[in-house]
Assembly symmetry: C2
Homo-oligomer: 234 residues x 2
């Protein structure tokens, strides 16, 4: 796989993926961490051709396949703080949510195997490299995963504009799974039914909904705040 | 100007811009609000050619130029809740922040005239049409605007990863200006110096920073929460 962009390549080097080759422009190769990776110095056009994107910022790298984590291992962590995405298909949204989840100290993220964005190089870029550190698991069925999570003593909170619980009235201590649906569609009924509570963000404007990445950011930091100083908090 | 996408066109019709013509695909024209706009029914290719984007969702419209608000008028609102963006140049980020600001009940948004994204059709799209409702003002100099805001009894809070005030330890009542810098660069020194306090979001992960849209979402909702039930709150 060829990943591209400054943050994605730097975090891949810092993280656990095998990085077999780095290409950089003369300009990018002046940066200390790029130089330390002993890049092949090439023209920007060659980097763009290798990675297939113009958003490369002068650097790309050949790395091993992305390795997904095990959902069971995520649930086995002490009082985990997990994010589950139901049918989020836009790579920008997936990447952005991974970035915020890593910054908020989440334990990991869970996505369904089907009808969901995978961790492609575009997702690595949109995550600013967060996917190299945040464990991401794929599950066959998200509603079943939530039942497993509840059996493992996690509380599952679904984000739902029509939810009757205000997002900031909840005690987010202990094991928590924050469940977010796709922009537009929201949570599927079986997924919503598997949640312990549906939490909503107040909308005070004249438009119908927040973007899923923005809603994720508000909720992730609210959960993180509620966990400060706790044993299970990261 | 040709704007495109379902939310942007719908909000332009609901908002104050003059909409002189709407084009829609047969499919899109089945929706009630589209039909009510009496669109010219055309092929998707024609819509793409007219708006220059493939993200049109089957609808585009010819509308009057975007009209910026006056910064003085924003400051004259009772206890305004404003967002000021310092050199945010990415249309996606500007649009996303407008969308969240509108949802959080902000009074308006302020951007500098130079070195900042303008309200283009791409920004309308990224904002899901929020720019049709949220007043947006351009100012010659952002630091000078903050001095005006302070003279108008607003408190100016700059978002800064190195800030010594935790974002959730602040009383956000009264007039508030939330100041956000560009991804990567942050606030310019003169802008940071014009703020009353620099507020930071805790980073608990292994990467360096949150995206500016995500940071904006967390901060906007924290300010909104702090204003609930207040006279000036929207």
């Amino acid at each position: 796989v060829i990943i591209y962009g400054r943050n994605p390549v730097r975090e891949a080097i810092r993280g656990s993926r095998a990085v077999s080759k780095v290409w950089a422009t003369k300009n990018a190769a002046r940066e200390e961490w790029v130089a330390a990776a002993r890049p092949l110095v090439v023209a920007a056009e060659e980097i763009e051709a290798r990675c297939g994107s113009s958003a490369h910022q002068g650097v790309c790298a050949q790395v091993s396949e992305f390795r997904y984590a095990s959902a069971d291992a995520l649930l086995a962590a002490p009082a985990p703080f997990l994010v589950a995405l139901d049918q989020v298909q836009d790579p920008q949204n997936l990447g952005s949510i991974c970035r915020t989840a890593e910054c908020a100290g989440a334990t990991g993220l869970v996505v369904p195997e089907r009808r969901a964005a995978e961790v492609t190089p575009a997702v690595c870029k949109a995550s600013a490299g967060a996917v190299e550190h945040l464990p991401i698991a794929r599950v066959r069925n998200l509603a079943d995963f939530l039942l497993d999570a509840k059996a493992a003593e996690c509380w599952c909170y679904g984000a739902d504009g029509a939810g009757d619980t205000s997002y900031d009235s909840v005690d987010y201590g202990g094991g928590v799974v924050l469940v977010l649906g796709s922009e537009g569609e929201g949570l599927r009924p079986r997924v919503a039914a598997a949640c312990d509570a549906l939490v909503s963000l107040s909308l005070r404007g004249r438009i119908e909904s927040l973007g899923v990445s923005a809603a994720a950011a508000v909720l992730l930091y609210e959960v993180a705040r509620g966990r400060r100083g706790e044993a299970g908090a990261q």
